[in-house]
Amino acid sequence: MAKEKKETELVVFGATIQGFAQACINLNIVAGTKAENLIGEIEVNGWYPFEKLREVERVVIEVYENSGPILERVGMEMMLGWYNYGPGKEIVNNGVGFLHFQTGSQGYASVVKGPEKLVGSFNLEFLDEDSGKARIHSTTPFNKDMERGVIIGGMSAPGDLDYIDVKNGANPQIFDIEFA
């Protein structure tokens, strides 16, 4: 059931949940009734309690012992869907454009709403196109493996970059990005 935006509650855009679920299905990470349940009654333009996304995430986390690489791939697949079948092409023209889109959390703000403290941010802190380095600081409630995949997928989707590496090993909230 879609929920109206409420400032007191953390809510996530339906398209994000559906994008996650569809990515899982595309990658054959889940199948059968579990897959059908993932999509369930999610409305693309609805807003849902963040817990709904957690539920969908859990389907992967509970099934896979090492869920990190899986969630990373799901994040990548989500962004391919966003770019090829969603609004992505209209928003970003190239891989670096995806990084620019994160300035001031504008990309993130379009999919999560709620109390500032709970929403957090997904902000481009630094970008040097000449050296091919950038940094994103994320305090969002999203899974960080998935977020890493979102950055890789978002930058890869336009197809103009030859090399992308995203690391967040030391501090999961800090994504150090290299690209060329």
Binding site: N66, P69, I70, D162, D165
Partner: protein, 307 residues
């Protein structure tokens, strides 16, 4: 040549064919592919690990299932012995009055076909043949219930109609609850005649030169609270009685044709002069030749009046 053209050509380029800019691009592409490969490897490693865990879980579940199956098989084996023990033996007195041959085979370890020999309150012999709906343990448990019911009432009644109606009335609610019903073919015999009640049971009486197929239009036990009909037929020395369930007559051959009541009755009539065991064997040979496979419990009982 551009880098794309060089890669497309498939030949190793000479140093002078590649500009520094293209070399840099090549290096980046290579690193990009390395990173992609690393990510792919991590993804497939996680997937494979998951597959391994799934196989281990599957193995464990298979072991548990095998263990559970073993327990069930042991239980069924005991149940089968108990059910066999509940089937009757011919009393000396009854054997002195009847030549009897019975073939009784359950499709599974335990089943729903049931036959029994009784004595009514007046001392008349009675034979009952039943086919309880379904197979397996539930049908076998209903059989034990019915046996108890018949044994109870036979101490008080003599008429097959009254006996069957009493059992139906007292069992009706129970059978409804457990979603079971049963055909009934119940015969009480005296010195010169037999009386029978049949709700879905098959019977054939060969008396003198004539033959009578049992009326079996009454309801099954447990289906309706309705009166049953009782029929009386002469039953004298040398007469032959056959009672059976649908296991043989509804068996099919490879073309899907039923064995049929007609075929079995004709065979019994044709062999009527033979000893009862021979008649039974002949019927079974013919059935086994005909049917593609057993698909139901089977009970076939043939009795000849000796005195």
């Amino acid at each position: 040549m551009s880098l794309e053209e060089l890669l497309e050509s498939g030949t190793v380029p000479k140093k002078e064919d590649i500009s520094e800019e293209e070399l840099v691009k090549l290096f980046r592409k290579f690193r990009g592919l390395q990173k992609k490969q690393e990510r792919d490897q991590a993804f497939w490693a996680a997937t494979n690990e998951n597959l391994k865990i799934a196989y281990e879980k599957l193995d464990e579940q298979e072991r548990e299932l095998a263990k559970a199956y073993g327990i069930i098989q042991d239980d069924l084996s005991v149940a089968s012995k108990i059910q066999a023990a509940l089937l009757p033996e011919l009393s000396k007195k009854m054997a002195s009055e009847l030549d009897l041959a019975v073939y009784h085979k359950q499709l599974a370890e335990v089943g729903g076909d049931y036959y029994d020999f009784f004595k009514t309150c007046s001392g008349s012999f009675a034979i009952g043949v039943f086919d309880i709906s379904g197979h397996g343990v539930s049908a076998a448990l209903v059989m034990t219930y019915l046996k108890a019911q018949f044994m109870t009432i036979l101490e008080a009644l003599d008429s097959p109609k009254e006996i069957v109606e009493w059992v139906n009335n007292t069992s009706y609610d129970f059978l409804k609850t457990v979603k079971k019903y049963t055909t009934v073919n119940f015969v009480v015999m005296n010195t010169t005649a037999l009386r029978y009640v049949s709700g879905g049971g098959f019977g054939l009486l060969l008396s003198g030169k004539g033959s009578t197929v049992f009326e079996k239009r009454d309801a099954f036990l447990g289906l309706r609270r309705r009166p049953f009909h009782e029929y009386e037929l002469p039953f004298k020395k040398g007469d032959l009685l056959a009672m059976y369930t649908d296991g043989i007559v509804e068996a099919q051959n490879s073309s899907g044709a039923d064995y049929s009541v007609q075929r079995l009755n004709d065979l019994i009539i044709k062999n009527a002069k033979k000893p009862v065991q021979e008649i039974l064997d002949r019927c079974l040979e013919d059935y086994k030749e005909f049917r593609s496979k057993d698909s139901d419990d089977i009970t076939l009982l043939i009795a000849r009046k000796k005195v």
